[in-house]
Symmetry: C2
Subunit: 328 residues, 2 copies
C-alpha cells in the first residue's frame, strides 16, 4: 500500500526512526534492564519488536493493557505499574502478573483478585500514587501476610522527565532514588523499577527502567536532545488554503493537546479544532497536498487511533492494530 | 446494571440532564431549525433520540460520521460540514448527503465522488475552512457547472462561541451573519446553515443551527449560563490517597485536555497524567470511592470512549456504543 492511499488523518510511524530508537535503547539497556512501557504505543505488534530485541518484561498502565499483552503471548513478566481496586481479571490472566500496591486497600484487592506478586509503589516526589518511603516496609509486611510475594519496589520520578539542564536533572534523580533506596532497604526483593525515557541514562539505582516514549518519540521529548528520533506523525490532507494560512484534516481528536500544539515542518501552527489544524506555511501549499504533523505527546495520541501504519518512504510496509486501547 | 459494576474510567451521561437538554433545545429550535451535530457525541443511539424529537437532519464532521449515520438508518438529510478531497464513499452512501465545498478542488472532489448536493462554505471570521464571502457566488456557479446542486451556504462563527458578554456576543454574531448573508445573496438556495451551542439563541439569519454540545454539555459551555445541564461525566475510582491529595483512575487518555483541566465537585484538580487525575478533595476520601469527573470539552472526550453509559442515579439504564469514532 502507498502512503497516498491512506485515509487521513492516519497515525504513521517512520520505520527507520522506529528501528533506530528500538536498537539505540536496547544497546543502552539490554534485556531485562529495560521493561518497555506499552502505554506509549498500545500495540502488541510493536511490543513484539521490543521482545525480539531481548526485552521480555513489560510495563503496563491499565488492566486492559495487561490482558491484551497476555492474549498476544507476551505475558512472560508483566508489571501493572498502577493501582487497581478490582484485580480479578489480572488473577485469571495467563501470564506472570505483578501489580503495584501502595495501600492496605490495594493489597487486599490484589490478594482477593488472585494476583500473586506485587511491588510496593513509593512516592519519590511526584504527587500521584505511591506510599511515603517510610511506609513501604510496613506495607510489604502486610502484603506478605496476605500471601503475596513482594518482588521489590517501584517509584516513578515523572516530575523530573522534562528537566532540560542535564546536570540538574541527574542530581535530582539521585535525590529521588535515595528515597526509593530507603524504601527498598525496608521492603527487600530483587526489583527496583523506575525511570522513563527522560531519565533512562541517569537513573543509577533502578534494576529496570520503565521507558516507553523512546520508541515513537514526540516533540516534547525531542527537546531533551536524546539520541532518539521522531517516528510518530499524523498524516493529514490539506483541505483548505486561504491567504496567509492553510487547514489540514487532523485536529484535537487525532492528536492529544495536553503538551500543547503539534508542529509542522516549515510552518507555524495557529490552533487545532476537533478535526482541523490551522497553520501558516512558509511555502505555498495546494488543496490535496499531504503533510506530516508532529504531535507533542505520543502516548495519548496513539491511543485515539485504531491503527498505526509503519511507513518507509512512500510505502506502508505494515499496519498494526492499536489493540491495547480502552479499559473495559 | 449498577453504576458500581462499571469498569472505570467510564463515560457516563446523566439521563435526566440529557433529557432536559434535548427537550430544551427542541423547544427553542423545533424540527429542521436544528441540524444536530453528531461530532459532539458520536453515538447513533443518541442521534436517534434527537430524531425522535423531530430532528431528522444532521450535521457531521467526518466521512466516517456520515457513513455511520447512513448505516444506522439516519440518513434522511446528512450535511458533512467539512471539506473532503476523497468523496467516493459519500457518493455511494445510502443517504441524502450534502457536503461543504470552499474551493475548485473540493468541488471537483465532490463531483468526482458522486456527491449530488453541496453548500458553499464561507469564512465569516474563524480562520479555518471557508471561502471569502465575495468568492461564494463564483464557486456556486462552478459547482453548478460541474452538475452539483447548490443548496445554499454555511458559515461557522466558531470564534464567537465562548464570548461571555451576551450583548457583545449578539452584536458580533450579527456582524458575522452579515458576511454570510452577502454570500447567500450571490449563491442562492434554501439553506443558510450556521451556529452552535454557544450562539443557538442569537443567530438570527441561519435557517438551521448546527449545535451539538448542548446534549451532553461540558464545563466550558456551562460558563455561558445557558439553560443546559452537565450530563457527561467520567466515572472514576479513587486508587490512592495521600495527605493533602487523592488520585483517581481517569486521566488525559479518558478526557480531552485542550480546554484545560476537568473539574471535580468539592475538590481542586491539580493535574492529569495519562491514566490519573491528582486532586485535593475538601472532604476525606477513601481508596475505592467512586467520583464523577467533569471534562472541560465534551466532543473529544466522548471520542476516546468505546461506550457511553446512560445512568439514572445508581442504575445504568442504557449503554450506547460510540459508533461514529475513527476515520477509516
Amino acid at each position: 500500500m502507498k502512503l497516498g492511499e491512506l485515509v487521513t488523518p492516519a497515525a504513521i510511524a517512520d520505520a527507520g526512526a522506529l528501528d533506530h530508537n528500538l536498537r539505540t535503547m536496547s544497546a543502552a539497556l539490554p534485556g531485562a534492564r529495560l521493561r518497555p512501557h506499552v502505554k506509549a504505543h498500545k500495540c502488541t505488534s510493536l511490543a513484539r519488536r521490543q521482545a525480539a530485541l531481548g526485552h521480555e518484561t513489560f510495563t503496563c498502565a491499565t488492566v486492559r493493557e495487561v490482558l491484551g499483552m497476555a492474549e498476544a503471548g507476551l505475558g512472560t513478566d508483566l508489571l501493572l505499574a498502577n493501582e487497581v481496586l478490582d484485580a480479578r481479571a489480572l488473577g485469571k490472566a495467563k501470564a506472570r502478573v505483578t501489580v503495584a500496591v501502595d495501600s492496605e486497600a490495594t493489597i487486599d484487592a490484589a490478594a482477593a483478585g488472585g494476583v500473586r506478586e506485587v511491588l510496593i509503589d513509593v512516592n519519590i516526589g511526584l504527587p500521584r500514587c505511591g506510599c511515603a518511603p517510610e511506609e513501604a516496609g510496613r506495607l510489604a509486611d502486610l502484603a506478605r501476610k496476605r500471601g503475596l510475594s513482594v518482588r521489590g519496589v517501584m517509584g516513578y520520578e515523572g516530575h523530573l522527565m522534562m528537566v532540560e539542564d542535564r546536570a540538574d536533572q541527574a542530581k535530582r534523580v539521585d535525590q529521588a532514588m535515595e528515597l526509593l533506596a530507603r524504601a527498598h532497604r525496608d521492603v527487600g526483593g530483587d526489583v527496583i523499577s523506575s525511570g522513563g525515557t527522560g531519565t533512562y541514562d541517569l537513573n543509577r539505582l533502578a534494576t529496570e527502567i520503565q521507558a516507553g516514549s523512546y520508541a515513537l518519540m514526540d516533540t516534547q521529548y525531542l527537546k531533551l536532545g536524546q539520541p532518539f528520533r521522531l517516528s510518530l506523525a499524523i498524516l493529514a490532507t490539506v483541505i483548505s488554503v486561504s491567504p496567509g494560512y492553510a487547514v489540514a484534516d487532523c485536529g484535537l481528536k487525532s492528536m492529544s493537546m495536553d503538551h500543547g500544539n503539534p508542529t509542522i515542518d516549515g510552518a507555524k501552527v495557529w490552533f487545532c479544532s476537533d478535526e482541523h489544524v490551522t497553520f501558516a506555511p512558509e511555502a505555498k501549499l495546494r488543496v490535496g497536498d499531504r503533510i506530516r504533523v508532529w504531535p507533542a505527546h505520543v502516548d495519548p495520541t496513539v491511543a485515539v487511533h485504531d491503527r498505526l501504519h509503519v511507513v518507509d518512504g512512500e510505502n506502508v510496509i505494515e499496519s498494526w492494530p492499536v489493540d491495547l486501547r480502552g479499559w473495559a
